[in-house]
């Protein structure tokens, strides 16, 4: 293989570039990224990055979340084409076409284009934000440092909860609105989702559940509009929340399907993300909520693999940091081998930091699994948190902890070992 193009210059793309070199690929390596920034880490965006000192200069902010440094960049010997979006993949000659018309001929392609925050329909309003990338986070942060605000976070998932927690820490009045009867129930099951829901009230935010948002209402022109919007935000065109806030009407309230409404100065829309597969339309690659791959991250074309949030690997699309860092090793191995020689089934794992609590989850929980508390108690979270396991037919399927990193890690390792034993038995 002489030339490989990695599309997407974030977590999974960078790890793929590293793996290509680590596994001996000596050819031409090109990494294309739509954002103008060098690869940075997203998890801090809803956590420390939002709460950090507001007057810190930009370079320092970005430095702290940088995923790489000049030495490594030199070692990787890759050509970085940043601020350029791939527009198409021509599978016949495996050419990646950029939006400025450039074409990159490649023998192998790694799809690592991640996902984009889902938005609410309706006209753009100032004060409405999503939180997916650095520019989003800067724009939100700028707004949050302008004095106390009534913040409404739409969506009680992990990013919504973390954002709410950060807003409380900054002294804002915060309400989290969730359409489902209970946030995170699909991920954690009712019992432990209830514990997470309890964190909001304990932490000083209101949680409204079972309320669907009908629309956002705006009026007047935003005070200080434009001051906060990050530069470099132009690329998004008519995107909400970051399109030059110049003369947009400001958001005033969130209106619910049942007719009620809630006054708001800032609205954060945290209703999930959709995989960035649009550029693959017409490429013959199969796409269905993610790029369809086998267990080894390989698409139907052996010269194209997909990794990270954009990839549906063996039927599962994970939006977790750890999947995005673990899949590239296997994907690159299979890409260089020209066929799937190894499966990537990392044990699902994620963490979240909210209201001073660190939450960790690992494993494959299914509905109907029973929850058993092994250590501590969900009732007295202040006294060292707790560790719980999910069980099915006497077997541990997953683990969940609040503030119990050490025993959690032990169970996580056992789950991983159990899984690799199971894999060996199958083979």
């Amino acid at each position: 293989m002489r030339a490989v193009t990695v599309v997407g210059a974030s977590l999974a793309g960078l790890y793929a570039a590293r793996e290509l070199r680590a596994q001996g690929f000596a050819g031409r390596l090109t990494v294309v990224g739509a954002e103008p920034h060098q690869p940075y880490d997203r998890p801090p965006l809803s956590k420390d990055f939002l709460t950090g000192a507001g007057d810190e200069d930009r370079a320092a902010q970005v430095d702290r979340i940088a995923l790489t440094d000049p030495e490594e960049l030199a070692e990787l010997r890759a050509e970085w084409i940043l601020g350029a979006r791939a527009r198409a993949l021509d599978v016949r000659d495996r050419t990646v076409v950029l939006d400025d018309g450039r074409t990159l001929a490649s023998d192998g392609v790694v799809v690592a284009t991640g996902a984009s925050a889902r938005r609410l329909p309706g006209p753009p309003l100032a004060g409405v934000h999503t939180l997916r990338d650095l520019d989003d986070a800067r724009a939100l942060r700028a707004e949050l440092t302008r004095g106390p605000r009534r913040v409404v976070v739409i969506g009680g998932g992990f990013i919504g909860a973390e954002t709410a927690s950060s807003c409380v820490a900054l002294g804002h009045d915060v309400t989290v609105v969730e359409a489902a009867p209970l946030p995170l129930a699909a991920q954690l099951g009712t019992e432990l989702a209830l514990v997470c829901a309890g964190l909001h009230e304990r932490g000083g935010a209101r949680l409204l559940t079972g309320v669907g948002v009908a629309r956002l209402r705006g009026g007047g022109v935003a005070a200080g509009a434009g001051a906060g919007a990050g530069a470099g935000a132009g690329a998004g065109g008519a995107d909400w929340g970051r399109a030059g806030a110049e003369a947009l009407p400001a958001v005033r309230s969130v209106e619910f399907a049942d007719g009620r409404s809630l006054a708001a100065d800032v609205v954060v829309v945290g209703i999930g993300a959709t995989p960035n597969t649009g550029w693959l339309a017409g490429s013959s690659l199969a796409v269905a909520d993610g790029v369809l791959c086998d267990d080894g991250c390989a698409t139907a074309l052996p010269q194209v693999v997909a990794v990270g949030d954009v990839a549906r690997v063996g039927g599962v699309r994970a939006e977790h940091w750890t999947s995005a860092t673990e899949q590239p090793r296997v994907a690159v191995r299979n890409l260089l081998a020209g066929r799937t020689v190894e499966a990537a089934r990392p044990l699902p794992y994620f963490w979240s930091d909210q209201y001073g609590s660190r939450i960790q989850f690992a494993g494959r929980r299914e509905d109907g699994d029973t929850v058993r508390i092994l250590e501590g108690s969900p009732e007295v979270l202040d006294e060292g948190g707790f560790l719980a396991v999910y069980e099915r037919e006497g077997r541990t399927t997953a683990a969940f902890a609040v503030g119990r990193a050490r025993p959690f890690m032990k169970v996580r390792r056992e789950l991983a070992a159990q899984e690799s034993r199971a894999k060996e038995t199958v083979v």
Binding site: Y15, R18, P43, P44, D48, L67, D69, E72, W321, T322, T325, W351, R358, Q360, A405, R406, F408, M409, K410, R413
Partner: protein
């Protein structure tokens, strides 16, 4: 020198965290004692809560691994070392001497 605990109270495979600024983690790795900065150089996790295996400790948050002898990470996502500190045992008590450059930004690895 900062007193840590009695040697007898830190059996092999165990660790203890000192509330110094910055906090320090002391490990008993199969009978050999090591002290390093407790906060992982990657983000914000306590290495004293990590997984100890030989001279390596694995971070409980994103699984970076550090060599306790040098403080150097042996795998990603950590890229920077953690500082190492001297450990002494006298009269059955463990003590730690913090690396001199606590406040400095430099290459902190004494030991």
């Amino acid at each position: 020198m900062i007193p840590v605990c009695r040697l007898a109270d830190l059996p092999a495979g165990e660790s203890v965290r000192l509330d110094t600024t910055p906090p320090v983690a002391v490990f008993n790795a199969d009978g050999e004692l090591f002290a390093v900065d407790d906060t992982c150089s990657h983000q914000d996790a306590s290495l004293s809560e990590g997984w100890l295996e030989g001279c390596l400790v694995e971070c409980p948050l994103h699984a970076a691994s550090f060599d306790l002898r040098t403080g150097r990470p042996t795998c990603l996502p950590a890229r920077k070392p953690v500082r190492t500190h001297e450990v002494h045992v006298a009269d059955g008590m463990i003590h730690v001497r913090l690396a001199a450059d606590v406040a400095a930004t430099g290459e902190g690895s004494a030991a």
